[in-house]
C-alpha cells in the first residue's frame, strides 16, 4: 500500500495501485490532503502556463471531485443532475471522478406549478399562536410540502425550457428578484462573497 502522498501522485500519473474511486474518496475525507492536492495542481498548472491565471482544468477537476460529496442543500426530492466535466478526456482519473459524480447536487431549482389552495393561506388574523408557530404551521401544510417536489431551473436567463414553455419567464422573474436582492446585499452586512459573483458564475444548464 502506498503512502497517501504517493497515492495521489500515482492517481495524477494514472499509475495508482488501488482503484481511483477509493483514492478520490480518501482525498475527500482528508482536508489536509485535499488542500495539498489543490495547491499541487495550482502550482503545476501555473508552471505549465504562466500566462493563464486560472487553469480551467483545475476548476473542472475540483468540481468533479466535489461532486462525490453528499449534497449540502438539496431537498431529498431533487433528481440527480448529470455534471459536464471540463477536463480533457485524456485525464482519465478525473473522468473516473466525474463518473462517480452522478450523485451530484442539483440546486438552482424552483417549483413551477399551479398553486395548491391548501398552501396559500396564513391564518394570522384569527390565530393566537406566535409568529414562529404560525409560520411553521404554514410550512407544515401538505401544499407547502408538495411545493418541494417539482422544480425548474432558477437562474437561466431567457433560455428556452425543454419541459415548460413558461419557465423562461420564471427564470427572468427570479433573476429580477436575485439582482434586486444582490443590490441590497451589496450595501448591507458582511462583505463575504461579492453579491454579483453568483449571477456571473451561474452555469447554465446547456452550457459548456
Amino acid at each position: 500500500m502506498q503512502h497517501a502522498d504517493e497515492q495521489f501522485s500515482a492517481l495524477i500519473d494514472d499509475a495508482a495501485d488501488v482503484p481511483p474511486e477509493r483514492l478520490v474518496a480518501a482525498l475527500l475525507d482528508d482536508d489536509v490532503a485535499r488542500r495539498r492536492w489543490t495547491r499541487h495542481h495550482l502550482i503545476g498548472d501555473v508552471l505549465r502556463d504562466p500566462d493563464a491565471p486560472i487553469d480551467l482544468g483545475l476548476a473542472a477537476r475540483i468540481s468533479a471531485a466535489i461532486d462525490v460529496e453528499p449534497p449540502l442543500l438539496a431537498p431529498s426530492a431533487l433528481p440527480p443532475r448529470a455534471v459536464t466535466p471540463k477536463a480533457p478526456a485524456s485525464r482519465r482519473p478525473w473522468a473516473v471522478a466525474a463518473a462517480v459524480a452522478a450523485v451530484g447536487f442539483t440546486g438552482l431549482m424552483l417549483a413551477a406549478r399551479a398553486p395548491d389552495p391548501r398552501s396559500v393561506e396564513a391564518p394570522l388574523a384569527a390565530d393566537q399562536r406566535s409568529g414562529a408557530e404560525m409560520a411553521q404551521a404554514v410550512v407544515d401544510t401538505p401544499g407547502m410540502a408538495a411545493a418541494d417536489t417539482q422544480f425548474v431551473r432558477w437562474d437561466d436567463t431567457g433560455r428556452p425550457s425543454t419541459t415548460d414553455p413558461r419557465s423562461s419567464e420564471f427564470h427572468r422573474r427570479l433573476n429580477g428578484y436575485l439582482v434586486n436582492f444582490n443590490e441590497q446585499r451589496s450595501n448591507l452586512g458582511v462583505p463575504g462573497v461579492h453579491p454579483y459573483v453568483r449571477i456571473v458564475g451561474f452555469e447554465s444548464e446547456d452550457g459548456p
Binding site: R113, D116, V138, G176, F181, S186, V190
Partner: protein, 326 residues
C-alpha cells in the same frame, strides 16, 4: 464565601472574559475596515468562485477613488457574462442568453452600509473570532471567523489583507461549519490606476433583449402598495432596513420589496400581485449560499430571497400575511 473572596473571583472572571470581548471587538472592527477598504480602494484581481459542484474564474476591477464607486465583474470561464456597477445603475450582460438586465442602483446609506449593528447586537447573534495568519494571493492575511449562535443563519470565514484590509478570501459556512461557497483571489493588484477603459464592458449588447427597472415614486399607487403586509416572524435580530415599491424589468406589475438584515445577513421579501399571464412560482431555489422560497398567498406572489438557510427563507415566506382584510 467572604466578600474579598467573591471580589477576587469576579476580578479573575473579568480578566478571563475581557480578552474574548476585546478579540471579538477587534475581529468585528477588522471586518468593518474590510468593508470600507473594499469600497474605497482601487484594485484589479482574478479570483475563483467555488460553490456546490462548480468552480469559476472571474476578474474584478474596482475603482473606489474619485467621485463615485465603479466596478466591473467579468467571467473568465463558462458563458461570457459581465456586471458593471457605477454610481447610478447596475448592468448585467448575459452574452449566452443575449440578454441585458439594468437595475437602478440603490444609493449608499452611510449609516447602514456594511455591518449595520453595534458590536453588542452583532455578538448577540454571532461569535466573532480572530484567527490565524495565512497567505492569500501572495499576501499576508488575518483570518476572522464569524459563527452564528443559532441554526437559522450562516457563518463566515474571512481572510483580510493585513496591509490594506481588503478582503481576499471568504467562505460562507453552514450551521455545521461546512463550506457552502467561497471566493478567493489568486492574484490582485491593489492601488494601481484603474482607467475608464478598464471599466468598459467587453460584451456587445447590440441585438440583445434589454430588461430595465426603475424605482417608483413613493406615492405611486400599485396593487401591492395598497395592502398592508405583516411579517409575523423573522429570526431574532433581523430588522427592516428598506421598504419600497418598484418596477422590475421582469415583472409587469409593481413589486413591493422589504429588506431585512441582522447586521450581517440580508433577506429580501418580494410581494407582487399575481398576473394572469404568468404562472405562479412556488417552492425552493438556491444559488450558492443564497436561498429562495416562493409561495402564493391570496392573490399575491411572495418570494423570499436571502443568504440564510432554506428553512429560514421558508419560514419567513410562510409568515408573510396581508392585513388588508382586517
Amino acid at each position: 464565601m467572604n466578600v474579598r473572596g467573591a471580589s477576587t473571583r469576579v476580578a479573575v472572571l473579568l480578566v478571563c472574559l475581557l480578552p474574548a470581548v476585546c478579540w471579538a471587538e477587534h475581529a468585528a472592527e477588522l471586518v468593518r475596515r474590510a468593508i470600507d477598504a473594499g469600497r474605497s480602494l482601487d484594485y484589479d484581481g482574478v479570483f475563483v468562485y467555488q460553490r456546490e459542484t462548480s468552480l469559476d474564474a472571474m476578474r474584478l476591477i474596482h475603482r473606489g477613488s474619485g467621485d463615485s464607486e465603479t466596478e466591473r465583474l467579468v467571467s473568465l470561464s463558462g458563458p461570457a457574462r459581465e456586471v458593471v456597477r457605477d454610481g447610478t445603475r447596475v448592468t448585467c450582460t448575459f452574452a449566452d442568453d443575449k440578454a441585458v438586465m439594468v437595475e437602478k442602483r440603490q444609493p449608499r446609506d452611510l449609516l447602514t452600509f456594511g455591518l449595520s449593528g453595534s458590536i453588542d447586537e452583532l455578538t448577540a447573534e454571532y461569535d466573532f473570532r480572530l484567527g490565524h495568519v495565512d497567505r492569500v494571493a501572495g499576501r499576508q492575511t488575518r483570518v476572522v471567523q464569524i459563527l452564528p449562535r443559532t441554526r437559522d443563519r450562516y457563518g463566515y470565514r474571512l481572510w483580510i489583507d493585513e496591509a490594506t484590509r481588503l478582503l481576499l478570501k471568504s467562505v460562507v459556512l453552514d450551521h455545521d461549519g461546512r463550506p457552502l461557497e467561497q471566493v478567493e483571489f489568486t492574484q490582485i493588484a491593489i492601488g494601481g490606476p484603474i482607467t475608464d477603459a478598464m471599466l468598459e464592458p467587453e460584451v456587445n449588447g447590440v441585438d440583445f433583449t434589454w430588461y430595465t427597472n426603475e424605482a417608483m415614486p413613493p406615492d405611486t399607487a400599485s396593487p401591492a402598495a395598497d395592502d398592508r403586509w405583516q411579517i409575523a416572524w423573522l429570526p431574532p435580530g433581523f430588522e427592516m432596513h428598506r421598504e419600497q415599491t418598484q418596477h422590475m424589468g421582469t415583472s409587469k406589475l409593481p413589486v413591493r420589496h422589504f429588506v431585512y438584515s441582522d447586521g450581517l445577513a440580508t433577506v429580501s421579501i418580494f410581494i407582487e400581485k399575481l398576473q394572469e399571464s404568468a404562472a405562479p412560482l412556488q417552492g425552493f431555489s438556491s444559488l450558492g449560499a443564497v436561498n429562495a422560497f416562493s409561495r402564493v398567498a391570496d392573490d399575491y406572489q411572495i418570494t423570499v430571497v436571502g443568504e440564510v438557510p432554506q428553512s429560514t427563507v421558508r419560514q419567513i415566506a410562510a409568515a408573510v400575511a396581508n392585513r388588508k382584510a382586517e
